[in-house]
Amino acid sequence: MIICFSLIVIFLIVIFSFLVRNILADNSAVVITVKILVCGDEVREGWEQCDNGDLGGQSCVSLGYGAGELDCTPACEFDTSACPPGPSCGDASCNGSESCGSCPADCGACPPSGGGGGGGGGSGYVAPVTSVIFSGRAYPRSTVTLLKDAQVAATTIAGANANFQMTLSGLTAGSYIFSLYSEDYKGIRSSLLSFPTNVAAGATTYVSGIFIAPTISVDKSEVKQGDNVVIFGQSVSSGEITISVHSDEEFFGNVKTDANGVYLYNFNTSPLEVGQHFTKARAASSGEISSFSKAVSFAVGEKNVTAENEKTAVKGELNNDGRVNLIDFSIMAYWYKRPSPPAKVDLNGDGQVDLIDLSIMAYNWTG
């Protein structure tokens, strides 16, 4: 009897474990894909038409030209400059297998005796450049900042469709940590999207499919239990935003962004217990999913308190220049494990500056 009961309990535990695992996997496990292609590595991949000697089995003739030598440009596109036009009688050009005999319209009437042929042209050598091209989606008309090894390397403005592209050239071959972030229409920054990349010498590396996480803010730092808290931010236009509210139980909500990528979601706090809660958001569009945004906090209590401007409350911003960068790191590194650090430098308020404070700073990094 006891054994039967125990077996039933085990069976239930196994089923429950599977269910929990699957539910959490569905809700929180997101695979973020950033596609990295290397143009110049002799391997044709992705959108590349060719890569140096790898022409993918194509030739001048297969591309509709006459017989010639098909080449590949440094940008991994076909170079058809050495391909003569395809033979076509009546195209006002005597080419291919056309002759005065087979196509007098193009080649003219056959003379009494034969003539000589012409010479070909050449092309200059273009030195290979070590570069990386980044492309992806941020927010409509937003500023996108690219960090190379945590220091600002380039900025650009995304288009109205939130797409952006930027190129970094003149690099040394090696391993880099590239990071990107964007600022929304209110100047609020996204979380950093970082990825290690190996840059090959003399090749162009393409990093595509970048999808910057939405920005997120709340209108109240404390909300009266049962009232709404407004969760808002920006992402791509017409994107699907999934909002997660963390507490003992995780709540999810969905909302669409407008043409400017702006979203706004009213979350009713009735099911939440009194205390601190966190919310974060991620975006989905055209079959791609962004990473989750930063988590912002709000408290459920007995009154409504308007949230302060998020821009003024960035942890790790020590010298009041609006950025979290090398200067702030230097200040914190100076106080690392020294006695009696200033309260502003001790980010978690535990009376010492240690690795935890530096981790909090690294999370809020802007470069």
Binding site: I3, S17, R21, A150, S179, S194, P196, A333, W335
Partner: protein
């Protein structure tokens, strides 16, 4: 009566043992199927596990964090000093962007390190740094990672669950003169360009101006930085360098100096960045002005003398 009691007791014991086993089995199943996040892993790796005395070899400290984003780490590498001599530490191509404590041998003979990667990184076999060892005597050497901490990029500095893999190396008695294993030596490129910054803050150096700088070398790794401040740029050829680390308190608090920052990699390649003075010298404070005037006057006088001599000859 006693036999009955004993029998009942035995039955109860058997039931208890069975229940206990079932409970342990349940715990095992629950643990196995529960949604536990994959741990980060710090490991020591080497291309060889057997090496001869005198033959240098490379050991890499690697981070595996495929499921979690890591933005800070620290720890200590413990190795048997009697068996292994540490020849060099290289941080070229490291996933760590800024060192709080650059990997170095401490007084106890261990290698300590701590650093951050802003924005975090999810990586497989991400290189933290490499060590070059030379076996001194034969034996079994165990290299271990201790006091290690790896923090999540979650804004809270939460610790990631961590697996640590040590490295066992067998050193044989045969003295070898063969070339080192796994050590790249060719690096002719200078460190990366960088942008040093001048700042001041009441929380550091009593609000005085300081210099912040950092760069990386994609080859052998960074060796050191040197700084010099010069009000008279003209005399920079004769001025010496001072080894420095960031943050560096500036000697010229009036910011009238050119500041030269030299980054040197382990192969001696150099990259020099120059910050012009925020408050340049006035023209009459600049010695170059007097050098030009004196040179001009000297040239004029010489020309006059030569001309007079030439005229007197005729």
């Amino acid at each position: 009566m006693d036999r009955v009691v004993l029998r009942n007791l035995k039955i109860q014991m058997i039931k208890f043992i069975k229940l206990k086993n079932l409970f342990l089995f349940s715990v095992f199943l629950f643990s196995f199927f529960s949604p536990i996040a994959q741990a980060a892993e710090l490991k020591l790796a080497s291309p060889v596990l057997k090496i001869e005395v005198g033959r240098q070899f490379q050991v890499d400290l690697l981070l595996n964090a495929k499921e979690e984003s890591i933005n800070a780490l620290e720890g200590k590498i413990v190795f048997p000093e009697k068996l292994l001599k540490l020849k060099k530490i290289q941080d070229g191509n490291s996933i760590v962007n800024f060192w709080i404590k650059k990997p170095q041998e401490d007084l106890t003979g261990n290698i300590i390190f701590s650093g951050i990667t802003p924005g975090g990184v999810m990586v497989e076999n991400g290189l933290i740094f490499s060590m070059i060892f030379e076996p001194a005597v034969s034996g079994a050497a165990v290299l271990e990672i201790s006091q290690a901490s790896v923090l999540l990029n979650d804004g809270q500095g939460s610790a990631a669950s961590l697996d640590i893999l040590p490295l066992n190396i067998v050193i044989s008695e045969v003295i070898s003169s063969e070339k080192p294993i796994g050590i790249e030596v060719s690096d002719t490129l200078p460190p990366e360009s960088f942008r040093p910054e001048i700042a001041k803050d009441p929380n550091i150096f009593n609000g005085k101006y300081f210099l912040a700088f950092a760069t990386q070398d994609k080859g052998s790794g960074m060796a050191r930085y040197e700084v010099r401040e010069l009000r008279q740029k003209f005399f920079s050829l004769f001025a010496g360098w001072q080894e420095a680390s960031s943050p560096h308190l500036l000697a010229d608090q009036e910011l009238k100096s050119y500041i030269f920052i030299k980054a040197v990699d382990l192969n001696g390649n150099e990259k020099i960045e120059i910050i012009p003075p925020k408050h340049p010298l006035l023209w009459y404070e600049n010695y170059l002005f007097y050098v030009i005037i004196i040179s001009g006057l000297t040239a004029y006088i010489l020309w006059k003398i030569l001309r007079r001599k030439k005229n007197s000859l005729y």
